[in-house]
Structures are given as C-alpha cells and as structure tokens.
C-alpha cells in the first residue's frame, strides 16, 4: 500500500508519508512530530499513533526502540466532560 494512504494518527488524520518526511527533516522525537502534525493530540492522546511513530523513528534512524521516548501522557487520561467534574462534588 502507498504510504500516503496509510493513516498513522486516526484522530488527526496524519499519514505515514507525513511522518516519514518529518523524520527525514531531522524531527526524530515523538514529541516534536506531535507538535508539528498534532498526531497524538486528539481524543485518544496517541495511544495508537505514539508507538507507530516511535517504531518509524527507530527504523529510519537505526536507533533501538528502547532509546525512543514516547509522548507524555497527560491527565485526565480519558475524555471527561466539564459537567462530570461539576456534578462529581455535588
């Protein structure tokens, strides 16, 4: 399959081609790619794409996976409605 048809980040619709182009430009960390493309900033917070991007970085830079840091996982860990927080304390 053609790399521009392979979606790596489903929340933000980012393709493998876009990821590879950035790695070639020297953006070789998940955090940087996240900030440029928004991959990993959607509702799932990179649960799928984070690892896929890390693998691609590992492959293209010849660094072992253990040396590739994943993105920061930030609270609240899953989507929480404002309303749920408001009613929690009532």
């Amino acid at each position: 399959m053609c790399e521009e048809n392979i979606i790596i980040c489903r929340c933000e619709d980012i393709t493998l081609k876009e990821i590879r182009e950035l790695i070639n430009k020297g953006y070789t960390t998940v955090e940087e790619i996240k900030r440029i493309t928004r991959a990993g900033m959607g509702p799932c917070q990179g649960k799928t794409c984070g690892l896929l991007i890390a693998k691609e970085i590992s492959k293209m830079t010849n660094k072992p996976m253990e040396e590739i840091d994943l993105q920061n996982i930030r609270p609240p860990y899953g989507g929480v409605k404002f309303e749920e927080i408001l009613t929690d304390r009532l």
């Binding site: 960390t29 955090e31 940087e32 900030r35 440029i36 928004r38 900033m41 959607g42 509702p43 917070q45 920061n72 930030r74 609270p75 609240p76 989507g79 929480v80 409605k81 404002f82 309303e83 927080i85 408001l86 304390r89």
Partner: protein, 381 residues
C-alpha cells in the same frame, strides 16, 4: 556541534529563536543556539496561543502591535513555507465592575494613541458577538478585532527554519552545565555535549533564565510560577474571539481546528519549577468555564498540562544587556506573554547587541527597576 561561536543563545523557545533569526538577518555569523530538550519544549509550547494588542501600557501595546504585523506576514517576512494558523477574530475582554470598565477605558486611550482598533461594547453587544456567552454580572467589554490566535509550535519551528537558512546552528537536546568566565568576561559555555568557546552569551531560557544567570553570578529580579491550562476535544465553532476576564481570572478560546483551550492565573501559587497538573485546576476551571459558556458542559476535556510564567516585577519583559558581565544579555520576565511579543523582542535584542538605536520606543532594560521607572502592566491573567 561547533566548538567556537560568535554568539551563543541559550534557549530554543520562540524568543530565543526570534533573537537568533533577527541577529542572523543583520548579517551576524557563527551564531549557535542551544536547547536542552526539543524546540518549544518550555513555556512556548505550553502557552495559550493567544496574540493580543489590548494592553494597558504603551510599550506593551507597541510591542504587541509590531509583533502582530510579523504574524500577519510571517511566511513572506521569514521566507519559509509554514502556516502559523493565524486567526484574527479578536479578543473580548470582559468587565465585571465599574472600576474594571474604567480601567478598560484608560487602556483604550493608550491603544488608540497607537492606532490599535479596539472598541468598548455593552453586555448586549458582547452577547451578539458570542451568543453562548453568559452575560450575568457583566457590565461591559473591550474588543479588538485584530487580536486572536497563532500556533506557537508553527511559529517556533518557522523561526528555527528561517534561522537555519541564514546559517544559525541549532543544537537540540543539549544542556548548558556551566558558563566559564574570567574577570567579568565570558570564556565559553560548557554543555553536556562539549565546550563552546565564545565571548557573547544571550539567555532566553524562559522559566530557567534566572538559573542560567546564576552560573555567571548574576541575580535577576525574576521568578517562575506554575500556570495550568487545558484543551478539549474539537467541536463545531461556537466561539470566535478569545474570551478573557481579569477579575474573574480566566482566558478561553476556540482554536481554528475547533478545540477549546483555557487557563487561569493561579492564586497563592508559590514561585517554583513545578510543572505538574492538578485536580484542583480541573475543578475550578470547570466552574469558571461553564459559567462563562454554559454549552461547554457537554464538551470533553482531553488534556491538561502546566507551564512556567517567568514573572518580572512590573509584569513587562526584560530585554537587556547586563552590566556586571561583559557581553552577557538576557530576554526574560515575559510574565506569560513571551509568545505574542516574540517577534518584536527579537528585533529589540538584535538592536541591543549590535548597539543600534532601538527600533521601538520602549524601556525594557534591567536598570529600570533601580531607576524607579516602573510602569506596571494592569492587564495580566
């Protein structure tokens, strides 16, 4: 990494990169920029992404206005291909007391002296602009249609690319360990990846600037404090302008791709380098945000984080040469507004290091505190 440089800039946030770009643009060679993590990993990448010109002091208004001109023509000026997602749908500043409205009127006079197109609105006019706005207790508002949003990451990477095109060497993931000096002269910068011989150092390290300055024995009158912020899922457009209230203490905007981003100034937060997220923030923010915009109740919060405001005594930037150490310069104390002022701050630092006349009529040198020339900024969240 080069082991010798004309200038070493410490800090790969938007201000450090704007400085690098502006210096290189003036023909200065052999500039090396050092960033301890990735570009924009500090305050720049954690900010609220707002760009506003509605300030209370003439110099903040001027810096913001000149910076906005750069944001408006970013690609052409920097000669790069990068969309910074500029959205100019205005800032709507909300007044909840007669005293606050009076301050807005004073601010407007300052803004109008610089042709910033801000206006006063009644609560009803504010409601027309944002139909979902709860106008309970609102007494009036100020609005500038040219204010808005820009993507901090794209601006930062844009400055980085433009700097590199002009020959600046950028070293990411490189940490400054020490700055070697002798007889008040800089000898070089020791990093975890090697020593760079240089006589000139510019520090734009955001919340950590005072720590770097301590390496050369300089005590800066600034401190860092945690500010928290959150972002929601993307939803359909309901909010055009950035909403902001100083007395109610909140800012909230919908970004061009549809997520809401919002934060508030912490109350009683001690100076620190703490960047942890707190549950209290979510709880207080939920109350504030849903009071202001009731439809937010059904929108999901996706992510929260924290960053450091680097506070100065008058809440205005310090862009200055430091007299006690030869060729040592700092750009700091932005008090939460470094991103939106970065284009102009870079120009000013380039003026200072090249000993040119200042492009803008402002007083941002560190000596202002000793001279008692402090005009504090009243409009800060």
């Amino acid at each position: 990494m080069k082991n010798k440089a004309n200038f070493v800039i410490i800090g790969g946030g938007v201000v450090g990169l704007s400085i690098a770009y502006n210096l290189a643009k003036r023909g200065i060679k052999d500039i090396v920029l050092i960033e301890k993590s990735y570009l924009g990993s500090g305050a720049t990448g954690r900010c609220g992404a707002g760009v506003r010109q509605q300030w209370g002091t003439k110099q903040n208004c001027l810096l913001a206005k000149e910076s906005m001109k750069v944001f408006e023509n970013f690609k052409d000026i920097l000669q790069i291909k990068r969309d910074i997602e500029l959205k100019q749908k205005g800032y709507l500043l909300l007044a909840y007391s007669a005293k606050e409205l009076e301050q807005f009127k004073k601010n407007l006079e300052v803004q109008h002296s610089l042709n910033i197109p801000s206006v006063l609105l009644t609560p009803q006019q504010a409601k027309e602009m944002v139909p979902d706005l709860n106008i309970e207790n609102l007494v009036g508002a100020a609005f500038c249609p040219k204010d808005g949003h820009a993507n901090p990451f794209q601006v930062t990477f844009g400055y980085a690319e433009a700097s590199q095109q002009l020959g600046v060497e950028i070293n990411k993931f490189t940490e400054v360990i020490d700055i070697k000096t002798r007889n008040n002269k800089i000898l070089g910068v020791q990093t975890n990846k090697g020593f760079i011989e240089t006589q000139k150092v510019i520090v734009a390290a955001g919340g950590w600037t005072q720590e770097i300055a301590k390496m050369v024995g300089i005590d800066l009158p600034i401190f860092s404090e945690r500010h928290e912020i959150l972002v929601t899922e993307t939803v359909k457009k309901i909010l055009d302008p950035m909403l902001m209230s100083f007395s109610y203490n909140i800012y909230c905007q919908q970004t061009p791709e549809g997520s809401f981003i919002m934060g508030y100034g912490p109350e009683g937060e001690p100076p620190s380098y703490n960047m942890d997220s707190s549950w209290e923030f979510l709880e207080i923010m939920s109350k504030k945000a849903t009071f202001l915009l009731p439809p937010l109740k059904n929108i999901r919060i996706i992510r929260q984080w924290a960053g450091l405001y680097n506070m100065s005594p008058d809440k205005q930037p310090i862009v200055s040469k430091i007299d006690q150490m030869e060729d040592f310069y700092v750009a700091c104390g932005f008090s939460g507004h470094g991103f939106m002022l970065a284009p102009a701050l870079g120009v000013l630092m380039a003026d200072i290091v090249t000993e040119s006349e200042l492009t803008y009529d402002v007083v941002l040198d560190i000596g202002r505190f000793e001279r008692g020339e402090i005009i504090a900024e009243p409009s800060v969240v």
